[in-house]
């Protein structure tokens, strides 16, 4: 059974159609990347899967269950998202503790104290950060909190929207390592949106290159590394990021 199946997905914002008949499957435990430049519609696809973009046609199903157009709690427990901007995705007036407690309150899960401590430990954050506010943390630490928040409800699928592009090079390496380790340890399925091919090469198994709302090519990471992409646009993208690496 595939973890995520997207068929003929067309998303619109108002009158403007942003993606056109996007289809792909992600196997369970696989890490799949959507690559493209800004305006290619890659983030929009992710927003439709997560439920943030509601005007779409086509079919999305996760772990065998078709997905409706609204955010529902059952889906939320299976699929979570990490946003690009660690400065914008944490509530500025809530301590890390309160941010991590929120999913437990929503889903009525008890034993919060122990679980919060465990979540912080899993993402490699020291316990002394627990009662700090986001502005007292660095960008990398915030992104760790955002990852912890996504993982506390123990989802099977994690949607990653440019998770490291707002971070410094050295911090990016730490977060990428963390994401790789978490996937290995918890058998997660990743759908990763990024513009950086080196990040894809490090974190993904397969990739789809998007341009102007369509998938132009789907390839394995081995093909990417071996320079065996076929589509001229994907080859151009690869050439431009040759030796250029930061996200």
């Amino acid at each position: 059974m595939s973890a995520l199946s997207v068929r003929n997905l067309s998303v619109s914002y108002g009158d403007r159609r942003v993606t056109h008949d996007v289809s792909f499957d992600v196997a369970e435990g696989e890490s799949f990347a959507l690559v493209g430049e800004s305006g290619s519609g890659k983030s929009t696809v992710l927003r439709a899967i997560s439920g943030l973009a509601r005007e779409w046609t086509g079919d999305i199903s996760a772990l065998g269950a078709p997905r409706g157009h609204r955010v529902d709690r059952a889906f939320a427990r299976q699929c979570q998202m990490v946003f690009q901007d660690p400065y914008g995705s944490l509530h500025p007036r809530k301590t890390i503790d309160a941010t991590l407690a929120e999913p437990f309150l929503i889903h009525g899960i008890g034993d919060r104290d122990r679980r919060i401590v465990a979540a912080l430990e899993a993402v490699g954050l020291d316990r002394r950060y627990r009662f700090r506010f986001p502005h007292q943390l660095s960008g990398g630490q915030r992104q760790r909190v955002a990852i912890a928040r996504a993982l506390v409800v123990e989802p099977r699928i994690l949607l990653l929207d440019e998770p490291t592009s707002a971070l410094d090079v050295s911090v990016q390496a730490e977060v990428l390592n963390l994401l790789k380790r978490l996937r290995r340890e918890q058998g997660l399925t990743y759908v990763l949106v990024t513009h950086s091919l080196p990040v894809v090469s490090f974190l993904a198994d397969r990739l789809a290159v998007m341009r102007q709302g369509r998938i132009v090519e789907t390839a394995t990471v081995a093909q990417l590394r071996a320079d065996e992409l076929r589509d001229p646009y994907s080859r151009e993208l690869r050439r431009l990021s040759q030796g250029r690496a930061t996200a």
Binding site: S50, G51, L52, V71, D72, R73, F75, A76, R77, Q80, M81, F83, D85, G88, S89, L90, H91, P92, R93, K94, T95, D97, A98, E102, P103, L105, I106, H107, R128, Y129, F131, R132, F133, H135, Q136, A146, R149, V153
Partner: protein, 300 residues
């Protein structure tokens, strides 16, 4: 020093410490602004005066003594006496209780009402937004004092009705501000993140949007306090607010009006109290605005 370190600790060890630490930082920010300190002192004095009025006043504010009528300020009557021989100082002191009650009740009724209406309108959008904001606009389109007058006229004169009237006329302003702010907050990623966790609309509004609107609301209400006091005094002045013999400042000025040329202190002393307290709230509001400014408290 140990206590200060505990308060300013960058890694608090409990929810309580984090919260108290935040309040302490806020207090420090206010303390750096001399005008805000002056405002806080005036408002603090008002609260103390109201709380300990029977001990601070030198005489009963209601008992008349016709033999002492219209005495100028002296050692016995610090602010003189009015046309019924009542001690003005004692009346001003007891009047602070009424002023404080009006201000607090209006703030407690109008601000939360406006906050909820604004936040719900912004988050729900669509028809809910249009209906709620249409209603708000209807109230905003009429001058505050006139609207308050109409309500008091309908409800009957008296201090409770004055409070209700002022509250009814001031919530729309708060609703507008709350909506504008909630619209911005609603589109931020941290709200999207909570929604993706399956949070209900009510949870998103109450625990995520409202707390962020509260600080600007506090600033706004503090700045509006002066206006509320003046409106209450205005209602008292034209006889629609507190009824005699209640020592309400506006009503006191109104009665002193007849003697303004010969016995200036009868109208001036309560007027002075109104100006002082209004200024106090303005200063405090300005200071709070600087201290609560998100650009400063949220760091880089």
């Amino acid at each position: 020093m140990a206590a200060v370190d505990w308060l300013l600790d960058d890694s608090p060890s409990s929810r309580l410490q984090a919260r108290i630490g935040r309040l302490y930082r806020l207090a420090l920010a206010i303390a750096r602004n001399p005008l805000a300190v002056a405002g806080a002192v005036i408002v603090g004095l008002l609260v103390l005066t109201a709380a300990f009025a029977p001990w601070i006043a030198t005489q009963d504010p209601i008992v008349q003594s016709l033999g002492d009528r219209l005495k100028p300020p002296s050692a016995a009557h610090w602010m003189g006496t009015d046309e019924l021989g009542r001690d003005i100082w004692s009346r001003v002191v007891f009047g602070s209780r009424i002023t404080l009650t009006i201000v607090l009740l209006v703030a407690l009724i109008a601000a939360p009402a406006g906050l909820v209406v604004g936040a719900v309108a912004a988050y729900a959008g669509g028809w809910t937004d249009r209906v709620l904001m249409g209603l708000t606009d209807v109230f905003l389109s009429m001058p505050k004092l006139i609207l308050a007058l109409a309500f008091v006229a309908a409800l009957g004169p008296g201090i409770e009705n004055a409070i209700i009237a002022i509250a009814i006329t001031s919530w729309p302003g708060y609703a507008r501000i709350a909506r504008a702010e909630a619209l911005v907050i609603r589109n931020s990623e941290f709200i999207a993140a909570v929604e993706l966790q399956g949070a209900s609309a009510w949870r998103v509004i109450s625990t995520n949007i409202l707390p962020l609107c509260v600080s600007s609301m506090i600033i706004r209400v503090t700045l509006d306090m002066a206006g509320i006091i003046l409106t209450a005094a205005g209602l008292g002045f034209i006889g629609l607010g507190a009824q005699p013999p209640t020592p309400e400042w506006g009503a006191m000025i109104s009665r002193g009006r007849s003697f303004i040329l010969d016995q200036w202190w009868v109208a001036t002393m309560p007027g002075f109290a109104i100006v002082l307290v209004s200024l106090g709230f303005c200063f405090l509001g300005d200071g709070l605005r600087d201290a609560l400014d998100p650009k400063r408290t949220e760091g880089k």
